[in-house]
């Protein structure tokens, strides 16, 4: 509960930076990701944390395919251990691939991974994607090519956080 609330506060700070500068400070994204990994480890989500560590290293190596194969193997193994953990791992892997292909910003991926690890479910992606779609439609109507996605990440996480109380 407290961890989720702290995450929302950090995401709000990231949203402000994103709206102002289109960039989020490394200290903020790294702090959130490190905290989320530590929180996930305490909640036995070691497979997604291992995957995040593997992907951090994979981004620097030439032999990406080998690391990617390792990541896919970890995800596949996670599916057999517990489907929910496998979905979390698969989601983190997918967002990293989108970053590698240049479709997502690095800060977006780090904050998305942190939100998934702290909420411990990939279902948090549903409100984030929905709000991202609405943001995309509005941007299309205003003839803009790019959107600050951290706004969707922050508001989607907030929506998922408060939704049980309504």
């Amino acid at each position: 509960m407290i961890a989720r609330f702290v995450l929302i506060l950090f995401l709000c700070a990231g949203m402000v930076y994103d709206l102002r500068k289109r960039e989020i400070p490394a200290s903020l994204t790294l702090g959130v990701l490190t905290g989320a990994c530590a929180y996930a480890l305490f909640h036995a989500l070691w497979i997604p944390v291992l995957l995040v560590a593997a992907l951090l290293m994979a981004s620097d190596l030439d032999l990406r395919s080998k690391w990617l194969a390792f990541a896919v193997t970890v995800t596949a193994a996670a599916f057999f251990i517990q489907p929910e953990i496998g979905l979390i791992a698969a989601f983190i892997l997918l967002s990293w691939i989108l970053w590698e292909c240049g479709y997502l910003g690095g800060a977006d991926v780090k904050l998305l991974a942190a939100a998934t690890l702290i909420f411990a479910t990939p279902l948090v992606l549903v409100p984030i994607a929905l709000l991202g779609g609405i943001q995309g439609v509005i941007a299309c109507l205003r003839r803009k090519r790019e959107i600050p996605f951290v706004v969707s990440i922050c508001s989607g996480s907030l929506l998922y956080f408060v939704q049980p109380y309504f």
Binding site: G14, Y17, D18, R22, E23, I24, P25, A26, T29, L30, L55, L56, M57, S59, D60, F79, F80, P83, W96, L98, W99, Y103, L104, G105, G106, A107, D108, V109, K110, L123, L125, V126, A129, L130, G132, G133, I134, Q135, G136, V137, A139, C140, K144, R145, E146, I147, P148, F149, V150, S152
Partner: protein, 48 residues
């Protein structure tokens, strides 16, 4: 590390729309077929 240094917080509108459609279709399929898929996965895991 390259991934840690990259702090861009921006995304193209097309990608946001594609992600929204894919996630919503996936979630809809999960709500419709989730219990059946879970039973099949549990069955396979049990066999292994």
């Amino acid at each position: 590390m390259r991934f840690l240094k990259q702090n861009r917080g921006i995304e193209s509108t097309e990608v946001a729309l594609i992600i929204a459609v894919v996630v919503l279709v996936g979630y809809g399929a999960y709500r419709l077929l989730g219990s059946n898929i879970a039973a099949i996965v549990t069955d396979i895991a049990g066999r292994i």
